[in-house]
């Protein structure tokens, strides 16, 4: 008798164990190679000194609530310096708008979208949220975000005050779904001291670099030859995000127009252009300009042992807070025909709510516009503000380095509004391009495998 109970217990136990095998875990964003996720790396800069630059577009009413008190819940995914800057802007908004009080809920970046989607699905979503431009189509498709045209015209938001390149990427089927507050493109950083040692720093403090495919390689060759052996000419990770961003930039510079067609249903990778761009980057690895399997290329540049590096603008704040690092920032070189780079934007969205509260929505859009107007605070982490008027402001110009790359906002090549942008990137582009960087697959081979893999994903 006892034995039977024991056996039952044992089998119940193993049954439970097997079942728990099937319950999915809740993972991070999978940054497994020392890559910096684009939110995690900003500097812990002090952000208290937030001088209010009053609404640039004065048309927006400051009190859309008609004297009523409105509380807005706002979900964000920012940490580090970004998190501090956002909180400073919110505090300032709450002070200057006594009738609207915004409450910030900081969520983990890795689980933000999952939580947002589930919460909105249950009717427990926030009044205001954040979305990346590239993620927006997916959120629209799932019925998470609402269109903004009505509420924007009711409060007098001037869409023309935004950079059209950033704004257009947030317009899907003719409807505005988001208020972009920045763009965070892929740019180049250089170590002034090392460039000077190599004789490649001009009088103006900028690199002496011919903007062409050969010119950039010549530049790297000079760095490699003239600098000590332990210096990496070009710090870049060997997998996932950053080399992919460089590939996307060069592919776009060649005239490549995303990897899917305008119908968003057909894979349309331009194999020749893709292979050419991939070949150029693969050569940078095989010829030893980029350190093989660098475990932490951020640290490599930060500790002054790498001459140049490329990543998103969010690194600016980090480098500034690094003692003894003399660096400069610039757009990535124009290797091919037209200027272009990889980039994405943080945007403000109004999630769908159970019952639509017009007052709340008005208050929310006023808040969103305020964040865009005060982009100079947001720019402290390195981001480029979404409004040209902010880029022209004295406050923004007073920040060092940013103006050197602010022009990039016009040349960012956004992905098309596909609901599967992130899947295409994570599950196909990364996978095959990583093999190219490791020298285990030829660029042409990779392109031939990527095309059907994109198609398979789009068909699912």
């Amino acid at each position: 008798m006892q034995k039977r109970y024991g056996m039952m217990l044992a089998s119940a136990l193993s049954l439970t164990m097997m079942l728990s095998a099937c319950s999915g875990g809740n993972g991070g964003n999978g940054g497994n190679d020392g890559n910096k996720g684009d939110e995690g790396s900003a500097s812990p800069s002090s952000s208290a000194s937030a001088s209010a630059s009053a609404s640039a577009s004065g048309a927006v009413s400051d009190d859309p609530t008609g004297g009523k008190k409105v509380d807005l819940s706002f979900w964000t995914l920012f940490s580090g310096g970004d998190g501090d800057n956002m909180q400073a802007m919110i505090d300032q908004f709450n002070k200057t708008h006594p009738n609207i009080q915004v409450k910030n809920t900081k969520l983990e970046w890795g689980e933000y979208y999952t939580k947002l989607i589930t919460a909105v699905g249950n009717g427990n979503g926030p009044d205001v949220g954040i979305s990346h431009t590239s993620r927006l189509p997916d959120l629209i498709d799932q019925g998470v975000v609402s269109g903004l045209d009505e509420v924007a015209s009711a409060t007098g938001v001037d869409w023309n005050s935004f950079n059209p390149n950033l704004l257009n990427a947030t317009v899907v089927d003719g409807v505005h779904y988001a208020v972009p507050i920045d763009t965070h493109p892929f740019i180049m950083y250089y170590n002034k001291k090392l460039l000077k040692d190599a004789g490649l720093l001009g009088e103006d403090g900028k690199p002496v670099l011919e903007q062409s495919a050969d010119g950039f390689v010549k530049f790297l060759t000079a760095l490699k030859d003239k600098l000590p052996k332990n210096v990496t000419p070009f710090a870049l990770s060997n997998s996932n995000d950053d080399p992919y961003r460089l590939w996307w930039a060069l592919y776009s510079q060649l005239g490549g127009n995303d990897v899917i067609a305008d119908d968003l249903k057909t894979a349309a990778l331009d194999a020749d252009k893709g292979a050419k761009a991939a070949q150029y980057i693969q050569d940078l690895y095989t010829n030893g300009y980029i350190k093989k399997n660098d475990p932490d290329f951020y640290k490599n540049f930060q500790s002054g042992t790498a001459a140049i590096m490329m990543t998103g603008v969010w690194a600016t704040g980090t480098w500034e807070s690094t003692k003894g690092l003399e660096f400069g920032a610039m757009p990535i070189p124009k290797i091919y025909d037209q200027e272009a780079t990889w980039g994405d934007s943080h945007t403000i969205i109004l999630p769908v709510t159970k019952k639509e509260d017009e007052t709340k929505r008005k208050a929310a859009i006023v808040f969103a516009n305020y964040l865009a107007d005060n982009g100079a605070i947001w720019a402290k982490a390195g981001h480029i503000p979404s409004k040209p008027s902010v880029i022209e402001s004295a406050e923004f110009k007073a920040l060092p380095n940013r103006s050197d790359y602010a022009s990039v906002a016009g040349t960012v090549k956004f992905s098309k509004p596909s609901t599967k942008n992130w899947q295409l990137r994570d599950n196909v582009s990364f996978k095959f391009l990583n093999e190219v960087w490791a020298g285990k697959m030829t660029p042409a081979d990779a392109m031939a495998k990527m095309q059907p893999a994109y198609q398979k994903l789009l068909d699912e």
């Binding site: 099937c22 589930t118 399997n293 992130w422 994570d426 599950n427 093999e435």
Partner: protein, 296 residues
Amino acid sequence: MRISKMRADVQALLFLLPFLLVYVLFTIWPMIKGVEMTFYKWTLIKKMKYLGWDNYTRMFQDQEFWAAVWHSTLFVILTTPTMIVLAIVLALIANRQSRLQKFYRSVFFLPSVLSVAVVSFLGLFIFQPYTGFLNSLLHLIHLLPADQEVFWLTELGLSWIALTLITLWWTVGFNFILYLSAMQDIPDDIFEAAKLDGASSSQMFWSITLPYLKPITKTITMLQIIGSFKVFMQIYIITGGGPLDKTRPVIQYIFQAGFRKNDLGYAATMSYMLFVILLVLSALQYWLNNRKEANA
């Protein structure tokens, strides 16, 4: 007599009720609900569309799924026998009369208390090139030329070795304790008798210790197979399933389908497939064991 037995049963049931309620609500009910999910296109928000058996046909044709199942199986093959040997060896060391006995016991068990994230990041620090512990050590003892690096985490074969080693180090403690207690259960007089008969220590190990460890080995093997099939987190953190998804275990694939591709219906389908695989494996093992016992 019978009535009082029934009363006792009712009383027991009352005590069990709180647990049973929670168990049914959070384990049994989701299990049933999960089966329903496999027949739908089901996103994080809601069920979208009835699909019939589509998720199942898709699964049987999905090469990536079967590749992932194979990777998990390979992980089981790599870790289970090595785990058992290592656990026995460690238990033998800790079971010897020695002043370091307590030290051994705590040292061998200690890694088990770490969380998987800590272990994985330690693994990354140990195996990463240029600055990692292992490559630095190999440089130091001149096994590896100074201008060469071993890329433990990006070469397919090496990354399996790295994953196996880090998992062994992390989880061997629990099995070690099981073996140690089993060894201490072996009656001393058997060893004494063997000694009197002039048996060498290796004879005693092969003819006494090992046979006595047989029952616990069966249990450990079963738990180990089930446990290893569930591998996810350390691979996810250390290699991310790469290179070319060739170390991606099935749980990671399910996770990606469910929470990255937002396709919970398909993820549920694959989960139940894994459940069936494990059920069959366990049943097979159970049957094999019982048959042997019947013969003996």
